[in-house]
């Protein structure tokens, strides 16, 4: 999994049926202190995150199938948690 900030929403009319009714966001990976790194990802919301939330994104092959209870789920990245607070020490 990785920490990310929810940046924007992707609006789409024509899509794979697995995506019907799902909210899709652009997320930007961030360090624990909030600095951005790397390229953006697109993630399917599973918990009701909002714009500018810090979230945990993750997923693995086949996970979306069982999560959404559909036979075929070409979904890679899920938003699986909204972060309240991060306690960490710099190494």
């Amino acid at each position: 999994m990785f920490l990310a900030k929810v940046k924007k929403r992707v609006v789409s009319t024509i899509k794979h049926e697995a995506y019907d009714g799902k909210i899709v966001y652009v997320v930007q990976p961030v360090m624990p202190d909030g600095t951005e790194y790397g390229n953006e990802w697109v993630a399917v919301d599973y918990i009701g995150a909002g714009i500018n939330d810090i979230v945990v994104c993750g997923g693995a092959p086949g996970v979306a199938k069982s999560v959404f209870k559909i036979d075929l789920a070409p979904i890679r990245t899920l938003i699986i948690a909204v972060v309240d607070k991060i306690d960490y020490k710099d190494y």
Binding site: K8, V10, V26, E40, A64, R76
Partner: protein
Amino acid sequence: MKIGIVFGVVWATRKVKEIDGCRMYLVQPVSSDDRIVDEPLVVADPKRIAAPGDKVVYVTSTDASQAFDSGFAPVNASIVELVDVIA
């Protein structure tokens, strides 16, 4: 999943039977504000979602074959959404 722009079509008469009837596009990965971010790649379009010039969301690795009705295809990138707007 990632965002990309379809900028070309790959034509192939001889291909594995699992991807018969499925278009293959050249896609340039971009950021949400249209900056180029990675090397172009070839992406399958099993659901006939896109056309050249479109902005799309594509899925990579093992999940790409999930976009096919058979659930099995030897691909590692598939288009899953046509982007209307990113806001």
